[in-house]
Symmetry: C2
Subunit: 103 residues, 2 copies
DNA sequence: TAGGTAATTAGTCAATTAGCTAATTATAGG
DNA sequence: CCTATAATTAGCTAATTGACTAATTACCTA
C-alpha cells in the first residue's frame, strides 16, 4: 500500500503504467517514449516492480515489462472504499459538483 | 492529478483523509491523533488543501477541515479506467489472483 | 486591552528523490 | 572469442520533503 502510493506519486511512473496498459514492452521501448536517460528509467521500473505494479520477464537479451492490473485496481479501489465509503453517500452539494466535473 | 497523487503518497496524509471520512475535524483534533508536531501537521493539511482533497472552514478560533470526496474518487477512478480499462478485461490468471487476494 | 488558546508561517536541518555519467553484467552473433 | 547491444548497478549531485523549534497571526474572554 505504502509502496504503491509512493510509486504512483511520479508522473513518469504513472505514464509507464499507462503505456503498459496497452501491452507489455521492453525497457528500451519504454525508454524511447521518455526524454530521460535509460538508467533513470531503469530506476523507475525498479520502483514499479518493487511495488508489484509491473512484472519483469527476461527473454534473451531483452527484458519485457508488463502491468499487474489487479494490484493497482485492488489498492486504489480499497482506498476509495475506505475514504469514500458507499454506506456514507455523497451529500447533495458534493454529488452535484461530482457530476459536473466528470473528469 | 499530479498534486493529488503527490498528496496521497504520504501515509500521514492518507490517514488524515481516512479520519475525515468520518466527518469534519479541527486541526487540533487531527493533531491529537498523530505524534508529530502541529506545524508539521499543518503543512500536511496545506498540501491536502492545495490538492483540493480537503476544504478548510474557519469558525471563530478554530479551523474545521472536511473531506472533498468527489475529487478523490474521480481522480482515482479515472486513473483506474485509464490503466485498467474495462474494455480490456483481466486475463484469466490475473482475475483468479485478484479474487484470491481481495485485499 | 491583556492573557490565553488555536493554528499557521518562517527558518533550519537531515534524509530522500530524481536526474546524470561511467562501469558492469549478460546475451547474441560473426 | 570478440564485439555490439540491452539493460542494470554504482556513485555522484541538486532539488525536494518532512520533521523540528521559534515566532507570528487571529480570535475569544475576562
Amino acid at each position: 500500500m505504502e509502496k504503491i502510493f509512493q510509486a504512483l506519486s511520479s508522473t513518469v511512473r504513472r505514464k509507464i503504467l499507462a503505456y503498459l496498459s496497452g501491452g507489455s514492452m521492453t525497457a528500451g521501448e519504454i525508454a524511447e517514449r521518455f526524454e530521460i536517460s535509460k538508467p533513470s528509467l531503469s530506476k523507475h521500473l525498479n520502483i514499479l516492480e518493487n511495488a508489484e505494479l509491473v512484472r519483469r520477464e527476461k527473454k534473451g537479451q531483452f527484458i519485457h515489462y508488463s502491468l499487474v492490473q489487479e494490484n493497482l485496481a485492488n489498492t486504489l479501489n480499497g482506498f476509495i472504499q475506505e475514504v469514500c465509503p458507499v454506506s456514507r453517500p455523497l451529500k447533495k452539494e458534493s454529488a452535484e459538483k461530482a457530476s459536473q466535473r466528470k473528469a
